[in-house]
Symmetry: C2
Subunit: 379 residues, 2 copies
């Protein structure tokens, strides 16, 4: 779907689709968002005691209202964190980006984290008969376990499922919905008159997280949302509404997309070979990584002579986004790719090992907490 | 709002407005509904042991699928009853028509009764700043008490409020919503692109009652809906959807509108002088009835000479719809109006007495059950 009113471009980003090679500079202009700049990064470092590799590497590249949020924090007005995931299959490693950031913010800023798992979203927006509400609800609980296993603190984490927590969500969603017309939604999401009325309503429920804690506690509490930039449109619409309801506009930090293993602009859970799932076996990981595209030359000889391009190499990007958080080690990997001293086979074997080490640890953590999930759920 | 695609006419009926003098014959054609005929009435009488005055007097005048419902009942496949009210103020006596019928059906057919009190409906569809969600929720609980006080059996009555019972409703509403496009809603309700997305979604929640018991018990159960004919549009849209979801299409019986005291086509709770509220004091009832329009001549002399027209007399209509259930007594009242032997003042004094007797009894019943309301609520 193409957002109405955009200049024709060679890429298109909506919550439902990412097409073409994304130009993030142009995207910021299209969306009306601003860079997460050095000054903001420095302020975060000062307040948190460190920065996060996802910020240093400009994977979180853009923001809304971040300076205001940090001002409030410095004045003692603490924020909470809101993010989420709409289940449609096993989570991929690409889905982890907002949760890795949310967990870090929880730790460094002692922030409560609210996580929406809208188990109706893909049901309403996809025409896949497999995606029944019951099936998605099952996935949602698996996703919740995967998220909690990232190190969230049970007492400060509140995961909620739209169908199961409708008593807490729906009354707030209708407040939002009353202030959004179909015209607005139609343009923003590229909907038509043939779009179903559930998909049309849905954005109201996604907006609720921006003020759910404020509503619960009956006071205005700043909210920070780490999200993939494709989700910005929901809050572009909601932010003015939320303010009219008497809450703060949310602050947002936007991440770029982890590319697919085959070079797709965004890793998609609907492409089994382009994505690493948290549920993948060690063998599947090796197989998929071995088939990944790299930025290397067509032969080992040419690669040794001319070197490759880490920016075009999905293997290098996986290190950068997720599997090598040490900047110096990452630079060594990128240099070895550029100067031809490390060939694709070696790169891939090393990445597969690192992914499998991560997944192994993740599975253990899942097992450890799986009987305590109720502690992570909104009540 | 005018329903798109209707032939221009001198009346218009939507869930949001009733304008002009309603021609119920034409309305049946417009809505595609059929008369509740003598044969059906006879079948009801046979099964129930009696008919209801609202059916005998053709106040319940139309139906969908009623023969099928009675067939099923005769085969031993019992139905449940579903109806509701969207709160926006104190209930009027006009609001009682579906509940009087539902209570009778409960008694005569041993039917469970589900009652939706959608406390978001008027919030979404009216621009009255007084109608906050909290305010309407308060009204909703008052309405529930007024309804329960009509003689419903606690164990067989399940009242639910959309915001408070969203856990039971929302998951089913999205199933309905997925199968309804904005095009369909736009035409049927006279919405525009500037309609808010909550109002657009709302009909999905109203549809849930048609299969809520079937969904709860995981089997197909026939459903009968007594309603004011203005609500038919919701189910005209929902019936095909409900069938696609694997449930029976609901059967419906449609009532005419109790006119306003001043001759308005439908008593409206937003017109304090044209409506008798269940909360009215005896003095208010007397005052309002005294100001009601009648079908009588302009002077007592002319009335004695020429007589009046009970069909144009709101006082006579109140007897017919609600306050004189004995057919012979009603006929005496109508005859006295026609032959001029009973003047407006006498008529009105008698009606006010009967209304006040009803309200007095109703208040006592409210008081008696008010601490037991939880027994009437869906759990």
């Amino acid at each position: 779907m193409r957002i109405d009113g955009l200049m024709p471009d060679d890429f298109n980003v909506t919550p439902y689709d990412v097409e073409g090679s994304v130009n993030y500079e142009k995207l910021m202009q299209q969306f009306g968002i601003r860079p997460l700049n050095e000054e903001m990064e420095a302020r975060i470092k000062k307040l948190a005691g460190e920065t996060h590799y996802l910020i240093r590497r400009k994977i979180y590249f853009a923001q809304r209202e971040l300076s205001w949020l940090l001002d409030e924090y410095e004045k003692g007005n603490r924020f909470y964190v809101y993010t989420g995931i709409a289940p449609s299959g096993s989570m991929t490693v690409g889905h982890l980006l907002p949760f890795i950031m949310a967990q870090w913010l929880q730790e460094k800023f002692d922030a409560d984290v609210y996580i929406q798992v809208p188990d109706e979203e893909k049901f309403l927006n996809k025409n896949d008969p497999k995606l029944t509400l019951e099936y998605i609800n099952g996935l949602a609980h698996q996703d919740a376990l995967d998220i909690a296993a990232l190190g969230f603190k049970p007492k400060k984490t509140k995961i909620y499922f739209d169908t199961e927590h409708a008593n807490q969500i729906y009354k707030h969603a209708v407040r939002v919905a009353k202030r959004i017309t179909f015209s607005t939604i139609k343009d923003a999401f590229g909907f038509s008159n043939e779009t179903n009325i559930g998909a049309i309503f849905y954005t109201s429920t996604q907006a609720v997280g921006t003020f759910i804690k404020s509503a619960e506690e009956n006071r205005k509490i700043p909210c920070l949302i780490p999200l993939g930039v494709d989700q910005d449109v929901h809050f572009r619409i909601a932010r003015d509404v939320v303010e009219k309801l008497g809450y703060y506009k949310p602050a947002i930090i936007h991440s770029k997309f982890l590319p697919g293993l085959k070079g797709e602009p965004k890793m998609s859970s609907s492409d089994p070979n382009g994505a690493i799932y948290l549920s993948d076996s060690p063998e599947e990981v090796v197989r998929k990584v071995n088939r990944a595209i790299t930025g290397q030359q067509s032969t080992a000889e040419l690669q040794k002579k001319y070197g490759g391009d880490p920016d075009k190499c999905s293997v290098c990007q996986y290190y950068k986004y997720l599997f090598e958080t040490d900047d110096r080690k990452l630079e060594r990997i990128f240099t070895a790719e550029r100067d031809g001293s490390m060939l694709a086979g070696e790169h891939k074997a090393d990445l597969a090992r690192k992914i499998n080490a991560f997944l192994e640890k993740h599975r253990k953590e899942r097992d450890r907490i799986k009987d305590r999930m109720d502690d992570f759920i909104l009540h």
